[in-house]
């Protein structure tokens, strides 16, 4: 079976879906790997490196995904659908709810499309959990970016030229990215407070030396059965805004990561709060993918609002291309390997992980929310 690794479509996208390490593993499983020339440049994987690992590097002009039984990508490019071989498979961050039309086309072409963000978060699938990998990268990078941006030190420093107080960092949303941000900010010497709707993360925050803002929400109110946060609304939401509002102006850095799966990210930082911040402060809004936790955030942009820098960049993982590609490639490889039987991809719908991550299969859209959204879209 042929696996294709195209170059990512996004201009700023430096990641690649499969690195040389991954190539080695999959070649070992019996696959033929085709890699588009220079696909790995952004991630510092050269063509020769790929070749040494056992892949065939395919020049720009030659067909690639057109001949592949399985196409791997990081971010999904809807334009690729037209080129895919009928009945082949596709794997990557498909963002199905954001690409409804393309999903329909995939189904129409009888393509088995796996969306990495849908891999269920069960213990066995941890090695395939690309969302966690990318969140880890983003959480780390968000703090490094903030430190590079802010005109202040993070650590406390007592010097002959006076004592520098430590930076105060507020982390909103202590999920995978938030926890990594806590750890990184603490490493750099900042005083870290973290805020979340799920009270169960208190212990986790403290296990990293952070301080948890306890505002007395119960687990039932905040958490769904899968451990994800529920949307908070009404009274609770305004209470939340009040708690955050009290803290934001006292902070030098705010890292916002609050997301609710399948919904717009909650607005947790208002314009008024930002106005209350000291000049030079920095907000990194990792929730920009979901519209942003700060109402001023412009996804994909860095803006200056009254001296406060609001970073809404979407390419944090891409900016760490070497390691984020490596992790993503590991995730993909583990996934493909788990489905491989005698050198071919064996799509076993009984398998919770396979079934959970499939969007289209056998000519149909099998991912319920996507199907519902598509149907609603058609009727409206």
């Amino acid at each position: 079976m042929v696996i294709a690794v195209p170059r990512e479509a996004g201009v700023d996208e430096k990641r690649v879906a499969l690195t040389n390490d991954g190539v080695k593993v999959l070649v070992g499983e019996g696959y033929d790997i085709l890699v588009r020339s220079e696909a790995g440049y952004g991630a510092a994987v050269g063509n020769t490196t790929y070749e040494q690992a056992g892949a065939r590097v395919v020049a720009e002009a030659e067909p690639l995904v057109e001949v592949a039984d399985l196409t791997l990508c990081v971010e999904f490019d809807p334009a690729v659908v037209a080129k895919l071989k009928r009945g082949s498979a596709l794997m990557g961050f498909l963002n199905p709810l954001g690409n409804l039309e393309a999903m329909g086309e995939l189904a129409a072409k009888d393509i088995s499309a796996f969306s990495m963000e849908l891999v269920p978060r069960i213990s066995r699938a941890q090695a395939m959990d690309a969302l966690s990998s990318m969140s880890t990268v983003a959480g780390y990078k968000s703090v490094v970016l903030a430190a590079a941006q802010i005109p202040k030190f993070f650590p406390m420093l007592m010097t002959a030229a006076g004592s520098i107080p430590p930076a105060r960092v507020l982390i909103i949303g202590a999920g995978v990215a938030g926890l990594q941000a806590i750890a990184t900010a603490r490493r750099l010497g900042a005083v870290v407070e973290a805020f979340d709707v799920r009270p169960s993360v208190k212990e986790q925050v403290e296990s990293l030396g952070g301080k948890f803002v306890d505002w007395g929400l119960s687990a039932e109110e905040a958490e769904d059965s899968g451990g994800y946060a529920k949307e908070v609304a009404g009274d609770t939401h305004s209470r939340e805004l009040k708690v955050i509002g009290e803290r934001v102006p006292k902070c030098d850095v705010v890292i916002a990561t609050a997301l609710i799966p399948g919904k717009r990210a909650p607005i947790l930082i208002t314009e008024e709060m930002v106005r209350g911040m000291v000049r030079g402060s920095v907000i990194v809004d990792l929730a920009a993918v979901g519209g942003g936790n700060c109402e001023l955030t412009k996804p994909g942009e860095v803006i200056d609002f009254h001296g406060v820098t609001i970073i809404g960049s979407l390419d944090l993982a891409s900016s760490m291309s070497v390691h984020s590609s490596r992790m993503y490639s590991k995730n993909i490889t583990a996934f493909v390997k788990s489905m491989t039987k005698d050198g071919v991809l064996n799509i076993d719908l009984e398998d919770e992980v396979v079934a959970g991550s499939l969007v289209t299969h056998g000519g149909r859209i099998v991912h319920a929310p996507t199907r519902i959204a598509l149907e609603q879209g058609e009727t409206s």
């Binding site: 069960i122 213990s123 066995r124 941890q126 090695a127 966690s132 990998s133 880890t136 995978v176 926890l179 990594q180 750890a183 603490r186 490493r187 212990e203 986790q204 403290e206 296990s207 990293l208 030396g209």
Partner: protein, 460 residues
């Protein structure tokens, strides 16, 4: 031999005994201690007799008896299997008690003693006989010559009271009348009391009883020392009597029981299982160690793998864990950290903490690298990790963690788990590891427990 000379040797023996017991406090010096005690004993035996004054018959008897005792004792002790050690101890102890009773018997036969000596003789007979028969029962139970379970029958209580009453009466009679039959009756009744004392005790309580009997034999030997006005006996016996009692109490404490409870528990029907053994949720018995016990395990280890988990993070124990590793390394132990990819609650959780504690990167091993090494590792020390060590992940398809690669800590020679309770971790499932025979638990908050462990290592 001049008496002063002999006295000096006896005092020397006594001192050697004391030093020996002191040396037994640490595993490093314990063997030397035992040797010293044996040396002291040899000295005492050597100087006891004025050989030139002994009748030839007696001399031959002595030589014969010594030879038989020594040779049989030596081979029994050498041949016995490691697992049969406890009953050996019981047996030897009983023989010691018997010897006391016999010595007392001869002394009684000699007659001509004053009141005080008579009382002492009667007492040492009673104690020696109880120790003898009790130990024999203990031996029989452990050797499975008879059922190991507590033997209780109705009327046992009444019988015991009667026996005790009889013993007291006979003692008075013996002292008052010096009659041989009374004496023999006393001997008999005491023997029965010893049997009745041990019969209702069983199972995990046996070591405590043996220790108690051991102490009794010491007391009996001390009493014999009074009769014979012999310092070596007095001091040696007294020493064993006292230290044996302390030891017994400590053993009870380690089991969270009182001595009364152990001894009379079965009688009054409220015997509990030993406190240290909890049956684990997945079957198997859980053994709990104190930090001091754990320290001894480490003292004998060449290689240790430290497996940190979320609990280490919660306890913020990373600094003391590093300190422990330093301590072990200073002892020449090879220390590695085994980091599971999903230990903790975020990717790299353990790395953050261990880096903070300045653990060198080259001591960190990931799952693939450490797993092949674990079977050769003496101790896997698991600190607040749970799911990542759960063997159910290997085979139990129903388990939520099925399919997750785990650290093969169960394959290490000893697997020591430090956590606060038997509570599950993130996945909410029991861990059968805790019930495995090579696993011991070190219950308590990770930071506090590891601190105590370091202290115990220092005290060793």
């Amino acid at each position: 031999m001049i008496d002063a000379w002999r006295g000096a040797v006896y005092v020397g023996t006594a001192i050697l005994f004391i030093v020996a017991l002191k040396l037994m406090n640490s595993p490093k010096t314990a063997r030397l201690g035992n040797l010293l005690a044996a040396l002291g004993m040899t000295g005492a035996v050597g100087v006891t007799l004025d050989y030139e004054l002994i009748e030839p018959v007696n001399l031959i008897a002595i030589i014969f008896a010594c030879a038989v005792g020594a040779i049989v004792g030596f081979f029994m002790a050498k041949r016995v299997q490691m697992t049969a050690m406890p009953q050996m101890v019981a047996l030897f102890n009983g023989l010691g008690g018997g010897a006391v009773a016999l010595v007392a018997l001869i002394e009684f036969m000699h007659g001509g003693a004053n009141m005080g000596a008579l009382i002492t003789t009667a007492l040492s007979t009673v104690v020696g006989a109880i120790s003898f028969s009790g130990s024999m029962i203990a031996f029989a139970k452990l050797q499975e010559l008879m059922p190991g379970k507590p033997v209780v029958f109705p009327g046992l209580k009444v019988l015991n009271l009667l026996l005790l009453g009889g013993m007291a009466a006979l003692t008075v009679l013996v002292v008052g009348t010096e009659m041989m039959p009374a004496y023999l009756a006393l001997l008999a009744v005491s023997t029965v009391v010893g049997i009745m004392f041990v019969l209702p005790i069983g199972g995990a309580d046996m070591p405590v009883v043996i220790s108690l009997l051991n102490s009794l034999t010491g007391v009996a030997a001390g009493l014999a020392g009074f009769i014979l006005a012999n310092t070596a006996l007095l001091i040696g016996g007294g020493l064993v009597g006292a230290s044996g009692l302390i030891l017994t109490l400590q053993m009870c404490k380690a089991m969270n029981r009182s001595l009364e409870n152990v001894v009379f528990g079965a009688l009054s029907g409220k015997a509990g299982e030993s406190g240290t053994s909890i049956s684990s949720g997945t079957g198997g018995t859980v053994r709990s160690y104190s930090p001091e016990d754990a320290a001894i395990v480490f003292a004998g280890a060449d290689s240790v793998a430290i497996v940190p988990g979320y609990g280490m993070a919660v306890a913020q124990a990373q600094h003391v864990v590093k300190e422990l590793a330093d301590r072990l390394q200073a002892m020449g132990v090879d220390v590695k950290y085994a980091i599971h990819p999903v230990a903790g609650r975020m990717p790299g959780h353990m790395n953050v903490l261990l880096a903070e504690a300045d653990v060198p990167y080259d001591q960190l091993y990931d799952l693939e690298d450490i797993n092949p090494q674990l079977p050769e590792t003496d101790v896997a020390l698991i600190i607040g990790a749970n799911d990542v060590t759960n063997p159910a992940a290997r085979y139990d398809k129903g388990s939520p963690i099925y399919g997750m690669p785990i650290l093969d800590v169960d394959k290490a020679k000893t697997c020591m788990v430090c956590k606060r309770s038997m509570n599950p971790g993130y996945a909410g499932i029991d861990n059968e590891l805790y019930g495995l025979p090579n696993t011991v638990m070190l219950f308590g908050d990770a930071k506090a427990t590891i601190t105590k462990l370091i202290q115990a290592l220092n005290d060793l």
